[in-house]
Symmetry: C2
Subunit: 345 residues, 2 copies
DNA sequence: CCATTGTTTGACAACGTTGTCAACGGTCGT
DNA sequence: ACGACCGTTGACAACGTTGTCAAACAATGG
């Protein structure tokens, strides 16, 4: 019932403390016989090593830290509430972490704050993680990435290419936007509107470019009037949708740069008496709510949990073996087709 | 650039290591003079104590663990994706934790699993947290709570009354259901349907009881035919809504036991050609997506972040001072009125 | 003025693990 | 048969902090 330490296991198995340590860490050069004796004692006593002591004795902390910003995200929900990322990341990285005895701890830090560096350094000092995962918009902060690299903390940047500065785990936003647009074209749409995202995020430009790519490839002229600015908020989506849908030559389909603005578009359309067969809407991020809208929203799924799994894998790999992996890891996106996109009538 | 330990601070300030420790922990019996010298050195060097070493040396780990179940929740989204709790809890507890140098780590454990006890014990052994926060349905698991208590780990149970077994931080589901129902009655509704939740959760019964309370209080007879079973999934909401809305004497308003089933109800209503003025819908949980539906869904907001803040406060209090607080902490809910509830025509 | 009590400070051990290094015994090559 | 080498095992220090205890000193009461 009381605490079980490595010493208890060593005594029970009749071996040295260090031997138990070796077995627990899967180190080579332990005979089968001792290995079995130790494992038996471990099972019997229910021994689990203390992370704190591991960190003290050795070089690893068995801890990964994910740096999130809850305010400045692409796909947060209206009025700052709710952000799907943390939940999905945790879920995605769980298996990988569990398999290697690692944990993942989330830290919320606002990207704009003046003392960001100080805060991050404090986190490093207190937690001494074996690696750190940056989510947008932190992952775009090159100064931050370099500071971490200087301190020898392995870094994964989510949502952007690594380009040699830390690991990058990301999807191809441009290709995704192109595929989404192509999906609309294949359904017979010719006038396709676009609601842009905040220029603060690289992904915004990528998505616009992909949209342009697909139009160009299909020999559809790009009409600047069909491109409306937005900043990922519901309100900006309303404004943009009103601008697009009140035109006499209004588009028959709209590609919104995130779900929130797409839902705003549905909202406006409904108010204007425009129903889905007459307007298709497609968007980015596939956040949980979109499948529950009426109609369900077709959306590009960003592989957040897969990215997190890959991120954990990379960091644990570096921490375990010291081996360095390639910098860039491109993961496939998914186009989740639902009721909001239909063949043009 | 290299690691700054307490020894460096002690040397810089010209005091003993233990004195620095005292200052860092706000212990009494340190003269003003030394305190200032130490703080100056701390600021100058950017010293932040290592959590691991703190855990090794002292009795505290400065770590709280939140035990979540991602599969079996009231307000998860369709097909198991997305759960608002973790994000909100983290956000809610952040300030409290930060102020006391604590961290919060989330662990995902499935409630049904046979080796739940083993898993939890492993978490305790590895992390040695100063307290543990259980979310539904774990918070209902009395055996689990007792096991933790036996091991002297302070426990907060979220979403249920503590009743002397650990702390309970919760809202009054029954009162909330009553208030929601009353809201409908005040709008002139007399025939009010109810979609129940899974009996696996205590909250389901509470909500039904509250519904009954309000009807009774308003002298509206309860029609058993207006109560449809559900299990918190979108599909069950569809079935329930179809049953309720296809009646010749269909209700003019429906209270659904969670958002997902409410959205399903809107879905079905739309399909049947019933629009909002003719049907009001209200629900529980106020998950992020509901404000984006068309129309926005009126919902009872569960104070998750406030509950998490309170939970952290309680656990940190016990860990710091050893003082024990009252067991039960009732937090107010909020009724978020949006477009889905209107005066009966 | 002394005994007593309380306040401030520091020396040192302890926490549970891993890194380092040395000792031991066996195998191989000559 | 001997030395060199390798695989296996263990003794011991180290990690950075807090708990314990004692020393030095100041304040208080008789």
């Amino acid at each position: 019932m009381t605490k079980v330490t490595i010493r208890h296991v060593a005594e029970a198995a009749g071996v040295a403390v260090k031997t138990v340590s070796r077995v627990m860490n899967g180190e080579p050069n332990v005979t089968r016989d001792l290995q079995d004796r130790v494992m038996k004692a471990v099972d019997q006593l229910g021994y689990v090593p203390s992370m704190a002591a591991r960190r003290m004795g050795g070089r690893r902390s068995y801890l990964l830290v994910a740096l999130n910003d809850r305010q400045n995200t692409i796909n947060n929900w209206r009025s700052g509430r709710g952000n799907d990322w943390i939940d999905q990341m945790l879920h995605g990285a769980m298996l990988t972490c569990e398999a290697h005895g690692y944990r993942m701890l989330f830290e919320l830090v606002q990207a704009g704050s003046e003392d960001l560096d100080r805060k991050v350094v404090a986190i490093l000092s207190a937690l001494q993680p074996d690696g750190i995962i940056l989510t947008p918009p932190h992952s775009q902060n090159l100064a931050l990435v370099e500071m971490l690299t200087r301190r020898n903390v392995p870094v994964v940047r989510m949502g952007v290419p690594g380009k040699g500065v830390g690991f990058g785990v990301f999807m191809d936003d441009r290709a995704a936007a192109a595929e989404a647009t192509r999906h609309l074209i294949d359904l017979g749409h010719q006038r396709i509107g676009f609601i842009a995202g905040s220029p603060r995020f690289e992904a915004s430009r990528q998505r616009l470019d992909g949209y342009a790519d697909a139009l160009h490839q299909a020999d559809i002229g790009m009409d600047e009037a069909l491109i409306a600015p937005g900043d990922f908020t519901f309100e900006s989506g309303v404004t943009a949708a009103e601008a697009l849908l009140s035109r006499s030559d209004r588009p028959t389909a709209i590609l919104a740069s995130n779900d929130e603005m797409a839902l705003a578009t549905l909202h406006v359309a409904s108010r204007l008496g425009i129903r889905v067969p007459d307007l298709s809407v497609i968007s980015f991020d596939d956040t949980p709510g979109v499948r529950l809208s009426v109609p369900g929203l077709t959306s590009v799924r960003q592989p957040i949990s897969e990215m997190a799994a890959k991120a954990a894998e990379l960091l644990i790999g570096v921490s375990r073996t010291g081996e360095t992996a390639p910098s860039d890891h491109l993961l496939p996106f998914g186009l989740e087709v639902r009721g909001s996109t239909t063949r043009v009538t």
